[in-house]
Amino acid sequence: MTVLRPKNAAEVAATLRETNGPVRLIGSGSQQDRLPAAPDAVRIELAGLDAIERFDAGDQTCTVGPGTTLAAIQAAAEAENLGLPCALPQTGTAGNTAGGLFANDPIGALTAGGPTPRSSLLGIDAVLADGAEFRSGARVTKSVAGFDLHKLFVGSRGRLFAVTRLHLRLKPLPRSTRWFRCEPQPIADALARFQTLRGLPAPPAAVHLVRDGNGSPHCRVVGRFEGRESFVNAMHRTHELPPGEPITRLLLTPTPGGEVLAGILRPSRTTDLLALTNDDSAFILHGGGRFELATPNAAASDALLQQLPELGGHATIVAGEPTRRGTGTPIDPGQQRLSEELSRKLDPDGKLV
């Protein structure tokens, strides 16, 4: 396997220009086992572009290379009482890179209307598969000049272009954070609680509906309130929320022979979705509507992928047999056509896989 490690944007451009055949762009590499396999691809690792190039505490923005680790950004930000709104330090992904976080965007918002990688990305510098460099967005928190090509980067999994610089929005660190962890309940009760918290005028900073996959059909609601201490305490009191440890398992791993689907769903359809699954399969629904669901085998995944569109949801296989990863619910034909055309326009030789 060929691995190339460019150190700056010019080297990324030259590397891409000079590489023939399939290319897989890599950050820290931690999510590669959740992507479709690309055994023949040349790996271009962007971890070397790891500089925090600009940090403007007053404007609450920064500019980083795609290989900068989330831990490094968080450390720089915390020194200024700031944080990266969409980072998930509690998942043990601190070694992951900024580029990887945005390219994968596995979780979406942790709460209704909460910050996402999408809402935290202000602009990018990038390189197309043929080595042509371009930029979009700006480094300020508000700009509508030009088309928002940086939106296309979020969740693109490196399929459209390589990003060599990211302009990010930061946010003030909360004055207080308190986790809660409710006892397992029947799904209807847990879902009602999840919806109540999600629908609060000032909802928790994160809220998750979790089924552990340990044989019990029950789900529990886990999350955290952030903000002023008086508010955080009042919320815990009013909603009778038992204190808990931070949730650390935001991404599921498959059981032997099983698979994991990552999807998005309107929370009110959760009971319908779970009615289609085994009672003991692990499941996590995040406040923004993203979910992960473990299935016992490929046949069960296929059945769910067929049924999900009727529930208004979408999903793709992210863990299991390498050849099955990336299989997903059908995309709207018009959108599919546009997506294929977009890939053709930006990467005519289909180099990026």
């Binding site: 999600r198 929370p267 009110s268 326009k345 930006l346």
Partner: protein
């Protein structure tokens, strides 16, 4: 075959296809009145199917078209050249679905921004993006412009509230970008994200799915007045540095205060102040109470002349009246008003304002400032007499230099009003040829023949250099706009 107008009339009927010169007058421009164009025709479709039929017909006839909402755009976005048909979506104003559980609404593009909030108000919900034009502008126009508003400092721009859109592409085919579940499937691309803010150049959105937000428990509005602009700006910096995130942070300068106080939008702003800062706090009652105290202390540290506080709707409405009516009030300073829209990093606000003042002095133009201070989004407004070509020349040159200054300070040529035709020549201040080439490729995916709102948003490749067009906005138009909006056209206090 018949003319294009005849064929459109056959499709939609006589009353929904306008093509006589008199009938077209109202569609000759948007809020940016200098770039005028009389379209070939205006069509008023009622449904997605009708928009499709119109675009199919125009596709076959190779006729360009321009989507339009309420026409309040300030950069020439919905203004058509003489060879184009305007597809006016203002009749498509049904709220199709509201989910009070999953917190979304599906609306047609002609739904007026404030009408959506009114429609969901009884459920304790609202639609967060609130351009000052919100009682007139449409969700379709907001989507195309990625509009902001005073409250987007805390709540984000339109793009942060769009979950999806059903789009009629320029060849008449349909694409569903995102949906009630979210803007993209986990294995899909964020096409809804790139469509938002594309200034009507990618297609026509005929159904838009937006996120709804819960009404805050409490809202409090503060008005702090200062003897220097620097104190007002530093107060904003300190509020943000303290980790506070007010819903709105708006500054008006002395000239604007005086114009407002001399107008029907009189709000009781202190005329001895060099600047007033409007701060709105919202959230749980106890949080708002604590934050109010903290902000009061910060304003004191910066020698505020006065601090007024309003928590009841009537008083809040009064404090907002001056801010919302500012453009209309300034329209009275001269016959014409040019509303600029630049952004600088918030930390550079003072530098920007000093630079802008120097530019105004050098070009001898009358300039006032109203701005979204939290976002560093400046609206320098130049009042002038558009009948005097020499004045116009100076105004144009000053405007261009101000935007250059914003970019030099690390900002942007537009924070919310879009490029349209107004700033099309200024786009190269921010983007290189290679950036624009990639943007043109993406636009070509949606509109391969370049017939959808041509000449807007990004300069066309190989377009002959257009002669400089001067920005100019007629005060009369603004007066009419303000009258329609009402002075408190923000979120209902």
């Amino acid at each position: 075959m018949g003319s294009i107008q005849d064929r459109l009339t056959k499709l939609l009927g006589r009353d929904r296809v306008l093509h006589s010169p008199d009938a077209l007058l109202a569609w000759e421009c948007d809020g940016f009145t200098v770039h005028r164009g009389r379209p070939l025709a205006v069509v008023l479709p009622d449904s997605t199917a009708e928009v499709q039929a119109v675009l199919q017909l125009l596709h076959a006839a190779e006729v360009p078209f321009v989507p339009r909402g309420a026409g309040t755009c300030l950069s020439g976005g919905p203004t058509a050249a003489g060879d184009a048909v305007v597809v006016d979506c203002s009749r498509m104003r049904r709220v199709l679905e509201v989910s009070t559980v999953d917190l979304y609404a599906i609306v047609e593009p002609g739904v007026v921004n404030l009408d959506l909030t009114t429609a969901v108000h009884e459920h304790g919900l609202h639609y967060a993006p609130d351009p000052s034009s919100q009682s007139v502008c449409t969700i379709g126009g907001n989507l195309a412009e990625n509009s902001g508003g005073p409250h987007c400092f805390k709540y984000g721009m339109t793009t942060d509230h769009v979950l999806g859109a059903l789009v009629v592409l320029p060849d008449g085919s349909l694409a569903r970008l995102g949906d009630t579940a979210g803007p993209r499937a986990p294995h899909g691309l964020d096409l809804a994200g790139v469509f938002t803010g594309s200034e009507g150049t990618f297609g026509i959105a005929t159904e838009i799915t937006v996120r709804l937000s819960r009404d805050p428990e409490a809202i409090r509005t503060l008005l702090a007045s200062f003897s220097t602009m620097a104190d007002a700006c530093r107060t904003v910096s300190d509020i943000v540095a303290a980790g506070l995130v007010p819903a709105a942070l708006e500054i008006l300068d002395r000239a604007t205060i005086r114009a407002v106080e001399a107008s029907v939008y009189r709000a009781g702003y202190p005329e001895d102040a060099a600047a007033v800062l409007l701060v709105e706090l919202d959230g749980p009652e106890l949080v708002v109470a604590e934050e109010t105290e903290e902000i009061a202390a910060i304003t004191q540290r910066h020698d505020a002349l006065r601090l007024e506080e309003a928590s009841d709707p009537k008083e809040r409405k009064r404090l907002w009246k001056g801010r919302k009516g500012a453009f209309g009030a300034m329209g009275r300073l001269n016959t014409d008003l040019y509303v600029l829209d630049g952004v600088v990093p918030r930390t550079r606000l003072e530098d920007a304002l000093n630079g802008i003042e120097a530019i105004a002095q050098r070009y001898e133009v009358v300039l006032t400032n109203v701005f979204h201070a939290g976002d560093g989004n400046l609206h320098p407004n130049i009042s002038f007499d558009g009948r005097d070509p020499e004045q116009v020349k100076r105004v144009v040159a000053a405007g261009k230099e101000i935007l250059e200054l914003c970019v030099e300070l690390g900002g942007s040529i537009t924070g919310e009003h879009g490029v349209g035709t107004e700033k099309i020549d200024h786009v190269p201040m921010m983007f290189r040829e290679s950036d624009l080439e990639v943007m043109a490729r993406v636009r070509g995916v949606f509109d391969p023949t370049g017939r959808c709102n041509p000449g807007k948003a990004i300069p066309e490749r190989n377009a002959c250099a257009e002669p400089a067009k001067w920005p100019q906005m007629v005060a009369r138009v603004l007066d009419e706009t303000e009258e329609t909006f009402g002075p408190d056209g923000g979120r209902a206090p």
